[in-house]
């Protein structure tokens, strides 16, 4: 875009943004809600990456998670329950120049939007996705979600949830074409941010599941993990997460894991205790749908005219066609 160095310098100056530049409305989540941690990480990411707010779009579905775009001072698209992925795909394919993020929840992504989620992984469009997974429907006031633990008493499962919870990590890693799968927890903000940053820098569909507390409807769900750092396994690697000394001393359960190893990634994804935190899988070479489809081409009217006329030629009966002379009649 920038044609000269001086222009770049000026643009850099103009395009500097502070944290406040990304802070939209005052969040109306409950006190202690894990969504706040995700919002903070997102705002910090936008600020540190100097993303122009006008070139950044946060897309969401419906649910507590999906209110996030309202609290960002970028463009936002708070659409329909379960449909954030296809909307975001349309935006990115139409405008590959935009930074497109998706905020979704365990109901939005894993239940009503599950088909879109599977196919979004397949398309591998360059989107940064956060699954806010609190194991419960919050906005509709406590119903079981696909990730609710068995036995959860909710308004729709008063005698306890009967089904095994879905594991969004194993599901994601089971899809051919998945290129980035990670897990974070809202109560370790430093790691959450590092993972979000890695997700943003991955070119492709970056899927980050964030285990997130719901103090209103699932107040003690994550207590065992909060109280015992040993039950959180941090995945480290030169190509993955690198821990600060203080974090490394607090969370001693660490495992070296190369994110290119899909088999190990699937094995780790299956663990539910300790819970793995880090980048499970990253394949920078997976082809992106927008590249395969040559999306975002610039087209002039002349180009379209020529193309249309080429097509019309195929179907045209010309009046001067002299084949008429041979007509039998």
């Amino acid at each position: 875009m920038s044609s000269s160095l001086s222009h770049c310098v000026i643009k850099l100056h103009e395009e500097h943004h502070d944290l406040e530049d990304y802070q939209g409305g005052v969040p109306r989540w409950c006190n202690g809600c894990g969504d706040n941690a995700i919002l903070a990480a997102m705002q910090r990411l936008c600020s540190e990456e100097e993303l122009a707010p006008e070139n950044t779009v946060f897309v969401s579905g419906i649910g507590c998670s999906s209110r996030l775009p309202h609290y960002m001072k970028t463009y936002g698209f708070h659409g329909l329950h379960g449909r954030a992925f296809p909307v975001a795909e349309g935006i990115k394919i139409a405008r590959p120049d935009l930074n497109v993020f998706v905020s979704t929840g365990d109901g939005d992504c894993c239940s009503i939007g599950a088909a879109h989620w599977i196919h979004a992984l397949r398309y591998n469009i360059n989107l940064t996705v956060v699954l806010h997974d609190n194991h419960v429907y919050g906005l509709t006031k406590k119903q079981a979600s696909p990730t609710s633990p068995r036995g959860l008493k909710s308004n729709t499962t008063p005698y306890g949830a009967l089904l095994e919870p879905m594991n969004p990590l194993t599901v994601s890693l089971g899809v051919q074409g998945a290129s980035f799968v990670a897990q974070a927890v809202d109560w370790i903000p430093e790691v959450l941010y590092d993972i979000m940053r890695a997700a943003f820098h991955h070119r492709g569909f970056s899927f980050v599941r964030v285990l997130q507390r719901c103090p209103e409807f699932m107040p003690k769900a994550f207590d065992p993990w909060l109280h015992d750092p040993q039950r959180t396994m941090l995945l480290t690697h030169a190509d993955g997460l690198q821990l600060s000394p203080s974090l490394a001393s607090a969370y001693r359960n660490q495992r070296e894991h190369d994110p290119i190893n899909i088999d190990k990634a699937r094995e780790i994804a299956s663990l539910d205790d300790p819970i793995p935190v880090g980048i499970l899988y990253r394949n920078p070479d997976a082809p992106c749908y927008e590249d395969l489809r040559h999306a975002g081409q610039l087209r002039s009217p002349e180009y379209i005219r020529a193309g249309l006329n080429r097509e019309l030629d195929k179907f045209t009966v010309w009046p001067e066609d002299d084949v008429l002379a041979t007509r039998a009649a």
Binding site: P69, R299, Y303, I304, F315, V323
Partner: protein
């Protein structure tokens, strides 16, 4: 055998004996996969190139490989060729070529054949090794002859076997030869057409199909004691010969839209097939989404980002898209939805025509969701409707539904070659900064219009939402604000309505009015107008009006209605019949357009409709109108 094959011989030697006829209705019927449609399309294309008017109507079974030799498996095509412009499939078939007797039976019992029609029937079944088939064949031929049909047994298989290894794949070109001979179509144009069809394959394939064609023409010449010519007048303008779905796809290209998101569904898919083949060559993109909902949401995302998109579907897909359509209405995102209607409800009749979705298009999605509904009424109109739809969608920030149907989707009719106009295209995505102080929904108090803030525009950051919102796009729970948004979105329809012209009245001379006004929409225009012409020829004071916009309806309709004693809609959908014991004026369900017109104009507009899955015939309209006028005591 007297049909010696001399391939080099010019076939049209019997020109002196040809009977001149103003038009012909021909059908080719076969099992699925035997190429009857390709044969008929080629026949139509050759006639069109000679300057004849044509209309082709495809007969498509619901299954890909229905059982061979079955009534339900009939796959074929009707070709109506005329001296003048042809606007519909006409009444009954005068000559049919059938590849077996079973596929013929369905057409006979459906009353699609004219009494005494000529039947050219594949004779191989007479000597089939299965005695049951032989018996069925013999019985059918005898029955048809008893019923007065002129049956000619044709050794298609036998003759084709002499030329190609698999006669099943070659019969259609042999039949093309017979038909071109019978109707005096130019063999040079026919050979060119064959070369065009098989153009992607090697010269050998073309040569073998030309040989089949020549053999068919020679056989017809030697064995059939009749032949015709349909005088043609070549247009002074270049003409395009395509079907409705291809016209829609060409319209998508011409409209400047960048993205088509779709999910496979009959009968809409062929539009996307063609687009998939060519759209990328002009910088566009067809996205086959994981489902209908995703296709619509993808299009909405692209449109929101500044590139107005289209989604193309049919009935069940249209139902699935309704939630996303509601979002586009609420958030004022431009969107073009093409619905190629088929029989409904539910899976209904996937390959058959019906005009059953008008009310779903107008009222679809929960809450008050005003959208524009257009209905193309010819193949040409399919092309231009998409261009208009894109323009309206972007100008008004609205959803525009284009209601085509299964009949238009496969029908071919020549129309003047469009001359590209740069004004058809969307302007480039606006990336200018938003003036300070402006809001994303700055609804104009008179028109309800607001300007769009596409991503990339500095200073325009806001969160679009499907929730009720105020001018700043902030979620609003205030009752007054909710009504402000509803009002603005509704006013946009009125603003568009003010720009629409009154529909022309066909048949009426100098505003004289008359006894009966027929009103239609969509694919039935040609049949209705042909009926009006015939009825006026009988001295009846009948005229017709065809609506291209179902929502909003243009002004001027009230005045037109006032000039006629009676009005009746003619529609291809369901309406209750007063002959049914329980049906009376307190419970009768009217056809879609009749219902809309009655409620708006408070005029007692009658309706006649049928939902047989077949295009409406001019003769049926004539019969209905004559009876209605007689009953009302106004017939002369």
């Amino acid at each position: 055998m007297n049909d010696t094959l001399t391939l080099d011989r010019p076939v049209a030697k019997t020109r002196a004996a040809r009977t001149a006829i103003p038009e012909a209705i021909i059908e080719v019927i076969s099992d699925s996969g035997e190429g009857a449609q390709r044969c008929g399309q080629s026949l139509g294309a050759i006639a069109a190139r000679m300057g004849n008017g044509i209309w082709t109507t495809e007969i498509i079974p619901a299954e890909i490989q229905p059982p061979a030799r079955s009534v339900a498996g009939a796959s074929g095509i009707r070709i109506r060729i005329g001296s003048e412009r042809v606007t519909n499939g006409g009444d009954q078939t005068e000559l049919v070529v059938a590849f077996n007797e079973q596929v013929l039976i369905g057409r006979v019992s459906a009353g699609e054949l004219k009494p005494g029609a000529t039947i050219l029937l594949e004779s191989m079944w007479a000597s089939h090794r299965d005695p049951a088939i032989v018996a069925s064949y013999r019985e059918t031929v005898a029955g048809l002859r008893r019923d007065g049909f002129d049956v000619h047994e044709v050794p298609l298989e036998e003759r084709c076997k002499e030329l190609v290894a698999d006669p099943r794949k070659g019969k259609n070109m042999f039949v093309l030869g017979i038909l071109c001979h019978l109707y005096g179509l130019d063999p040079t144009l026919a050979r060119e057409q064959i070369a065009r069809i098989f153009g992607k394959k090697d010269a050998k394939v073309i040569a073998s199909n030309v040989a089949l064609y020549d053999a068919g023409a020679a056989w017809g010449d030697a064995n059939l004691g009749f032949s015709y010519r349909i005088p043609a007048q070549r247009s002074s303008q270049a003409q395009i010969v395509v079907n409705g779905n291809t016209a829609i796809a060409l319209g998508v290209i011409a409209s400047g839209m960048d993205i088509c998101a779709m999910y496979p569904i009959t009968p809409a898919t062929s539009a996307s097939h063609y687009l998939s083949e060519v759209f990328e060559k002009v910088g566009g993109l067809v996205h086959q989404a994981e489902d209908e909902i995703a296709a619509c949401a993808f299009a909405v995302g692209a449109s929101y980002a500044g590139k107005c998109a289209v989604t193309i579907t049919s009935g069940p897909g249209f139902s699935l898209k309704q939630e996303v359509i509601g979002l586009a209405v609420m958030a004022e995102i431009p969107l073009v939805v093409v619905n190629v209607q088929r029989g409904g409800p539910s899976t209904g009749q996937p390959t058959k025509v019906e005009q059953g979705d008008a009310l779903a298009a107008i009222f679809g999605s929960h809450g008050d969701a005003p959208k524009v509904v257009m209905a193309p009424c010819s193949i040409e109109d399919c092309f231009y409707s998409v261009i208009t739809a894109r323009k309206i969608a972007e100008t008004f920030g609205m959803v525009v539904v284009v209601l085509s149907d299964a009949s238009l989707s496969t029908a071919q009719q020549p129309f003047p070659r469009p001359s590209f106009n740069a004004e058809w295209l969307a302007p480039p995505v606006d990336q200018t900064p938003v003036p300070p102080g402006t809001k994303p929904y700055d609804w104009d108090p008179v028109t309800g219009l607001s300007r769009r803030f596409q991503p990339g525009r500095a200073g325009g950051m806001h969160t679009l939402t499907g929730l009720a919102h105020d001018r700043a796009s902030k979620v609003a729970y205030d009752p007054a604000i909710n009504e402000e948004g509803l009002r603005a979105r509704s006013l946009k329809l009125a603003a568009l309505q003010k720009t629409l012209k009154a529909p022309p009245v066909f048949g009426e001379e100098g505003g004289e009015g008359g006894d009966m006004l027929l009103i239609g929409w969509g694919s039935t225009m040609g049949a209705i107008e042909e009926a009006v012409t015939r009825l006026r020829g009988e001295g009846l004071r009948v005229a017709s009006m065809h609506l291209r916009f179902l929502q909003p309806m243009p002004s001027g309709i009230r005045e037109i209605l006032a000039r006629f004693k009676h009005a009746m809609t003619i529609e291809g959908n369901w309406s209750d019949k007063l002959e049914d014991e329980l049906i009376d004026e307190d419970n009768r369900r009217y056809s879609a357009l009749a219902m809309m017109l009655r409620s708006r104009f408070l005029v007692d507009i009658d309706c006649w409709s049928e939902a047989r899955g077949q295009p409406i015939k001019p003769s049926d309209i004539c019969r209905v109108v004559r009876a209605a006028l007689q009953k009302k005591g106004t017939a002369s």
